[in-house]
């Protein structure tokens, strides 16, 4: 019977992802664009914040995905560490720039948002700062991949880095809370009784969240395929040399 691990075989992965990719792209496109349009043009302005509240449709999804991206990298790295599936290592490598990109957008939109709300572009608020640190971890992780020639060595080193980094990212988050009490919006539950976001805002937000989720998956799939092709090229060249 077919075990899930078969998909970790590069060849199998290429064939499967070829089929899956278009669908994810499609859903991502529809949900993201739809959600954003819905959010931007078909929701009333917020009574306190006015039109600026609409940034939330970019800001929150990117922010949430930025964190999930790192989690996905962690999982992929662990799979590589335990089962030595090359594809999962490459998937982690492929996810890093995407995650960094989302983080950057979350920070940027946040900054743009903070301008009208807090009257300043940047606050050393724990939430914001911890995201900045997350961004730094992304940079380090990417740099490590770049720096090491041998792909397997790089995969192992980045795995160790990713694990240690995750631990310290969490520690610093708590350290930061201890350091400075923030202005930033707390985590909120979207649909419980005393929700601070009325369903009017909530539904398009949920659409955007799903949209960005699929967008992430699509991007990672795409980049993983590229990485695999690069590795294949490398392998084939290596063989040319030997004959």
């Amino acid at each position: 019977m077919a075990s899930i691990w078969e998909y970790a075989n590069p060849r199998k992965f290429m064939t499967t992802s070829e089929v899956v990719l278009p669908w994810t792209v499609g859903i991502a496109a529809i949900a993201t664009i739809g959600g954003l349009i819905w959010g931007f043009f078909f929701t009333p302005d917020d009574f306190r914040q006015g039109a600026t509240v609409k940034i939330i449709y970019l800001h929150v999804p990117t922010a949430v995905m930025a964190i999930n991206a790192w989690l996905m990298m962690l999982v992929a790295s662990l799979i590589w560490l335990i089962r030595r599936h090359h594809v999962s290592a490459l998937a982690a490598k492929a996810a890093a720039p995407v995650g960094a990109f989302f983080t950057a957008i979350a920070l940027f939109t946040g900054a743009v948002w903070g301008q009208p709300i807090w009257g300043t572009w940047w606050e050393w608020d724990p939430r914001l700062t911890s995201f900045l640190i997350l961004f730094l971890f992304y940079l380090g992780y990417i740099a490590m991949w770049e720096a090491v020639e041998n792909p397997d060595t790089a995969a192992d080193l980045t795995t160790i880095l990713c694990i240690v980094g995750s631990v310290f990212a969490i520690i610093s988050r708590y350290a930061l809370d201890f350091w400075n009490q923030g202005l930033h919006q707390d985590r909120f539950a979207l649909f419980d009784g005393e929700s601070d976001v009325s369903p009017v805002f909530a539904w398009p937000l949920v659409t955007c969240l799903t949209g960005f989720g699929f967008l992430f998956v699509a991007l990672v799939l795409y980049r993983t395929r590229t990485e695999i092709r690069a590795r294949r090229l490398h392998a084939l060249l290596a063989q040319e040399r030997l004959s």
């Binding site: 041998n150 490398h234 392998a235 063989q239 040399r241």
Partner: protein, 208 residues
């Protein structure tokens, strides 16, 4: 203290270089690896020393049996020759370094800064380290490089003495070692092209 290698295959940089390597090294035996540049001698020695994990096959020997002397000297320029050897003696828990110094005529250089030694003098220091380790199996990568004839003779004497006391040695070289030993041409283990493929998961159905 025998070293037994069965169906070993060795890789470097994601490429399988050698496969089906089989040999045994018994106490008192010296084995010389021969092969053209880039054939995989260094890689094989590093694999035996446990630095690179083998791609396949088994290496059977006692724990902590191997001492390695590679292309690089492993000498600290700031320390004197004696201090360098003392450090290794401490690491391998052997008592005095005097015999090692004498074996390679390093007594006159003992107090010199290792950084101020000539190529051949450095080489002698790194060879003296082998005696200090007290390990039975020596893995030597081109040990006689930049040694003059006199010191090649010293090296040969040291190796034969080591063999006489039940030690063994496996050496990679292109030049004369100063003593007779059976040679193992590693070209016979060079990986054929079709075997090459299935080592790398990314090289599926490559054109032959």
């Amino acid at each position: 203290m025998t070293l037994k290698v069965t169906d070993l295959s060795v890789g470097r940089g994601g490429i399988r270089l050698l496969s089906g390597v089989n040999f045994a090294l018994v106490p008192g035996q010296a084995l010389v690896l021969r092969g053209p540049n880039g054939s995989g001698k260094t890689s094989l020695l590093r694999c035996l020393a446990g630095l690179t994990p083998p791609l396949a096959g088994r290496i059977e020997m006692a724990e902590d049996a191997i001492a390695l002397a590679g292309h690089a000297d492993g000498i600290k320029a700031q320390l004197s020759v004696a201090e360098n050897l003392q450090f290794w003696a401490a690491m391998f828990g052997s008592a005095n370094i005097r015999p090692a110094l004498e074996a390679f005529d390093l007594i006159p250089l003992a107090t010199r800064r290792a950084g101020e030694l000539s190529a051949g003098q450095k080489r002698r220091v790194s060879l003296a380290r082998l005696l200090v380790t007290g390990r039975p199996i020596w893995c030597l990568d081109e040990p006689t490089v930049s040694l003059d004839t006199e010191n090649v003779a010293r090296f040969a004497a040291a190796v034969t003495a080591h063999l006489a006391t039940g030690g063994s040695a496996i050496l990679a070289t292109h030049i004369d070692l100063g003593f007779a030993a059976e040679t193992l041409d590693i070209r016979q283990f060079a990986t054929p092209r079709e075997a090459q493929q299935n080592t790398d998961p990314f090289a599926w159905d490559a054109a032959q």
